[in-house]
Symmetry: C2
Subunit: 409 residues, 2 copies
């Protein structure tokens, strides 16, 4: 029997315990051993829970119990998750987590400590919720040089954008609806400002390119400025607006372009077909070309599904190191975007907007929007670097007002 402790009896923690007992036979078969939840650590009591008897309040009980070989951390945030994770690893216990903030902030150090103590730090659930992505990237694509990772990494913003596109709701109305449905927090900043997607692309970039990417170095733009006019202009060219986290390989030293921003995505792309709260991650390898992983990026049981898969994996490798590893990183790991090439969506307003567009960008593809003011226009440029774009935007601003611009995928 493999005894585990679950830290944090919130939504995900409770889901993990449910899955372990609801699917006990399947879990035992796949782990080739019975998994038993010995302790559930939480500051609260849960007298009405069938697992009330397992709930404790003192982490020391867990750290001092040598029979606990795997610790599941579903507290979230960095305090006290960081300390509990570090101490568990140092005590020779493998740790499984769904905590993207902790992995994105302290992942390199915690992976190193796990390695030094011959235990595992696993976090399949930290990116894409229930979607298998960490292990497939590390194992199934092991014959490839990863060139790019690009994904819809936040279900809340994807839901909001979908409602703007399909129901014509304004950003504010779509956000309010998402909050009503429980898809968005009362304070939605972490989602709508792109910070949640940022943490996830940092983890994927580290896995793909071998160096830790710290969120503070990653240019992050959310969806709060997207308007229904932008949505309509995109639609007129058979495109949809998606918030993408992207990481593109620059060199062999682990340097990459890493950023989060809204994009116009062609309906031809499978990423355009990702609806509602679903997530999807496209990975490009130099041999396999594009592969995509799709599923529920959040939610109690999808996330628990990924956590328990890692618990099973940890239980099967109690005395063996897993593949997951990357080196520490710094500001130099994130390449300046100025040389990043893309096509762009640009929307300007003013007299002779169209001629200003042509004078500045040359041949462009104009888009249409029934509800737009007659003196504005939007268009898609040829491919150019970000610095070339910025130079042209500065120039065109001498003649018209810049309303919005986005990359085109």
């Amino acid at each position: 029997m493999v005894k585990i402790a679950v830290l944090g009896f919130g939504t995900v923690g409770a889901g993990v315990v449910d899955v372990i007992y609801d699917n006990a036979d399947i879990v035992a078969k796949n782990a080739a051993d019975k998994i038993e939840v010995e302790y559930i650590l939480d500051i609260r009591d849960y007298p009405d829970s069938p697992f009330a008897g397992k709930v404790i309040h003192d982490f020391e009980t867990i750290i001092n119990d040598d029979s606990i070989s795997v610790v599941v951390e579903t507290i979230g945030g960095t305090k006290p998750a960081y300390e509990f994770t570090k101490r568990s690893l140092l005590a020779g216990k493998s740790v499984v987590t769904s905590n993207k903030e902790l992995v994105a902030t302290h992942g390199a150090e915690l992976i190193k400590i796990a390695k030094e103590n011959n235990v595992n730090y696993l976090f399949e659930a930290a990116v894409g919720g229930g979607i298998p992505i960490i292990r497939p990237m590390a194992q199934c694509l092991a014959a490839n040089r990863i060139d790019e990772v690009c994904g819809i990494l936040n279900g809340t913003t994807n839901y909001i954008l979908n409602r703007m596109i399909n129901a014509g709701l304004s950003f504010e109305k779509a956000l309010a609806e998402a909050q009503e449905k429980g898809y968005a927090e009362r304070n939605p900043a972490a989602d709508v400002e792109g910070h949640d997607a940022c943490r996830k692309i940092c983890i994927l970039a580290a896995l793909a390119f071998g160096r830790h990417v710290y969120p503070e170095y990653v240019k992050t733009e959310g969806i709060t400025k997207i308007t229904l006019e932008d949505v309509a202009y995109a639609e007129s060219d058979d495109k949809v607006i998606k918030l993408l986290g992207r990481a593109r390989r620059v060199d062999d030293k682990g340097r990459a372009y890493v950023f989060v921003a809204p994009h116009l995505v062609s309906r031809e792309s499978p990423l355009a077909c990702v609806n509602g709260v679903f997530n999807s991650i496209m990975v490009s390898g130099n041999q396999v070309d594009d592969v995509m992983f799709y599923g529920r990026g959040a939610g109690k049981y999808p996330t628990a599904s990924a956590v328990v898969a890692d618990v099973i994996d940890a239980a099967k490798h109690l005395n063996a190191r897993k593949y997951l590893s990357w080196d520490d990183g710094d500001a130099s790991c994130v390449a300046d975007l100025s040389e990043f090439k893309s096509k762009y969506y640009v929307r300007v307003s003013g007299d002779n907007a169209r001629s200003a567009a042509i004078d500045t960008f040359g041949e462009v593809k104009f888009l249409s929007c029934a509800d737009a003011d007659s003196n504005e226009c939007a268009f898609i440029t040829d491919e150019m670097t970000v610095s070339e774009l910025n130079a042209k935007l500065e120039k065109i601003k001498n003649h018209v007002a810049l309303l919005s611009n986005m990359m085109v995928l």
Copy 2:
């Protein structure tokens, strides 16, 4: 150093050798050891190949060389692949293959032999080419009871259907184009009749439900009867026609509905967005809900990418058994479809076709097709079992001619 032998220097075999040397550093890093191709077995010589010196013609050389720990079988078919694979496993060598026909025909036996000899028989490339699916299902979804697997498993037929849908080509014209482009064989039966998709769904069903599923028990229908009228009727309801391999769990004894047939798929489904020669596999788990895996289902390097990932895995587990396993199966593993529930597309021709449809099926959703004869009609039924459908089809045939019918996803 891990020495391997490659059996068959055709497209995939050559791709495997290329990937191992083109990505040598990545492969060595991920395998934590250097991978060296010692022998390439083929009946032909390849004097112009940079690997000409490795080409041999006698399998005995490989079987008698104890330094060879992994054998890659990319011969295809069952003769001599079956014998070579069996003897390699009995000799204590792990075997990696892309040979879906062999896995679908003899997989249970070969997995058993591998287990008895404490080596591995790995076949990620046998389903979905470069798409990670076998390992993610076995590991990442290990906490789930798998309820259904449903996928676009054949790129050739998906390309043909796409061209019928997007370019208005007839089946014959689209097939001819696929043959010109090298997407379809000169004898396209294995693809267009659904046999290739059948082998793949058999392997996925065995992995999902634990019992080997032999292709001969699986009802398999191809796309040769699909017409442009069917495509247009589907389009009028915002649906596309896709050839799907499906396996749905019936009970805990490994029984499942397993079949291959063209379906009408709503454009809302991510499966509808799979274009060209790409494949996509949807897996439904009782905790994770739907997850989907998308990528190139065939091709030299995508397939080689999956084969080499397995070679890396085998090299890392020379003395350890992997997870992959299922028991042998028989006719009883494939449940009779009569109780399978679905909505259906039905197209009939004759005087009063519409009233015959209503008299027989009650309230139905009629579809439209500009080019169809005035005396025909097509519609979508409510959900009912296959036996209920067949009874109604028998009844309606007393009044009108049945032109076509398909399941609706």
